[in-house]
Amino acid sequence: MADLKVNIGRLELKNPVLTASGTFGYGEEFADFIDLNRLGGIIVKGTTLHHREGNAYPRMAETPSGMLNAVGLQNKGVDYFIEHIYPRIKHYDSAIIVNVSGSIVEDYVATAEKLASLDKIPAIELNISCPNVKEGGMAFGTSCPGAKSVISAVRKVYPGSLMVKLSPNVTNIVDIAKVAEDEGADSVSLINTLLGMAVNAETRRPVLSTITGGLSGPAIKPVALRMVWQVYNAVKIPIIGLGGIMNATDAIEFFLAGATAIQIGTANFIDPQVTIKVIDGVNEYLDRHNIKSVKELTGSLIV
């Protein structure tokens, strides 16, 4: 049995396998299929200051080796989370991390402040891919000043481990990662979904109600790996890699490219037990290669 423990800034995880926000509900949805206590971490659904109904149906389109979604951050708001959901999930013996979204800086800050008071939430993950309504809908995560404004404001009020989730829909993801590091983020998570689109030729209409949506699944894995590698070579803070991970081999590839931990998203829809299979598979790989700790894998790509 190899050592699977990893450190994400000030946070220690018992293993490097987390679930990606928006693909694993609040964890409970999977309780019939796996022992949630075995996960390194559970990153719950995107949470905003106020209740959001999300986008209109249809919100999903299957695409080659992946899917598009346009859920639009449907959630009942942070107060509802704290009052009703947190008490049900806080006893799990894996790090419960809340993914935070907003359309103005003040909302991110207010949400982070509320979450800071919960002792069983050791970290938050800032989703900076949302449109910044004050700046005309441009996402915070697609410009350095935008990213800086959110991250620095949240860092001032949030004492826990601060993860920043980066959007791949940028010219140079390294620039945004550096901003996150400079503003005091403990780690960066990459990548969020790639902007895409699906068309129904017969009806001549877009498949999604929003016309465009976020692409996830194995289709985006090469892009995600490339970005993890680029960011690994440019920043010192740990990287949590994700994008199309379907099995332990995929996870190992992300470690080699520079990730300290990984997240599993869309794969949970196809196999709700995939997370446990990845944990066991990573352990088996380490034993087979005589590697004592998963930490040794990070960035050990032979080039």
Partner: protein, 258 residues
């Protein structure tokens, strides 16, 4: 209800027509309780062109044989791929999912209406209703008579009424053109599954007649277990997941313009 993920073995495959086939799967463990109207998410392996699981309604459960069956219509890649599966092979299935139909009680009349593949969940429902002492009438609407399948099975639980769009059997037209709609008040409840336009037309008539009506929705699903929020429908209490709060909804809880 607890959900299971199991490898089920195909013990029987029946080609019913050019478009429809029936798969009967058996489990090596005793099957859990499955309610009429619930569905399963079936993994499609060996197909390069499909990625996600596919939702299929539970068509019937035979606890003596320990089998569960699905009635499938070929509409695209996955349903075509599944049609070629050989007896003896296994399918990975997550079930039972969603909430089923709300049953009524003895000596009342129920009208079950299926359009196309929408008849799939109605057989198991008819079986349960009959067991409760309900008098069941099943109305099946198709385009042409060659699409009528499994009529004898539905007849086991009550009368079967038919409409065909081309008039090749039963009443010509859509299901709502059937004479039974002239006296809807004889029914305590209407249960329906099929194309949304059909269900909306039925819901409108049920509403006018003051008859309770449940519809089973077939929204596009990615996970089937309430994790992705892709499958929502608008209800009087906001967006609800069809996979966990449905697929069966009472029409009064939906925001249909009827």
């Amino acid at each position: 209800m607890k959900k299971y993920i199991q490898d089920l073995q195909v013990v029987n495959k029946m080609i019913l027509s050019k478009e429809y086939y029936l798969l009967e799967l058996s489990s090596n463990q005793p099957l859990p309780e499955v309610l009429p109207g619930q569905f399963a998410e079936v993994e499609i392996t060996g197909s390069d062109t499909t990625f996600l699981r596919r939702p299929l309604s539970v068509h019937d459960v035979d606890y003596d044989k320990n089998t569960i069956s699905f009635l499938v219509q070929i509409v695209g890649k996955a349903t075509k791929h599944l049609a070629n599966i050989e007896v003896g092979k296994t399918l990975n299935v997550i079930f039972p999912l969603g909430k089923g139909f709300e049953l009524i009680n003895n000596s009342e009349n129920a009208l079950l209406i299926g359009g196309g593949c929408g008849i799939a969940p109605l057989l198991y429902l008819a079986r349960h209703l009959k067991k409760q002492g309900v008098k069941v009438s099943t109305l099946i609407g198709v385009r042409r008579s060659s699409q009528l399948i499994e009529l004898d099975n539905y007849k086991k639980y009550g009368e079967v009424l038919i409409t065909t769009e081309d008039g090749s059997e039963g009443t010509k037209g859509y299901v709502v053109n059937h004479p039974v709609f002239e006296n809807l008040k004889q029914f305590k409840k209407i249960y329906t599954c099929g194309p949304e336009v059909m269900m909306k037309a039925i819901a409108k008539r049920a509403n006018e007649a003051g008859v309770d009506c449940e519809v089973s929705l077939e929204n596009m699903m990615a996970c089937g277990i309430g994790a992705c929020l892709c499958c929502v429908t608008e209800t009087t209490e906001g967006n609800k997941c069809v996979c966990t709060e449905g697929p069966v909804f009472n029409i009064h809880n939906l925001k249909w313009q009827i």
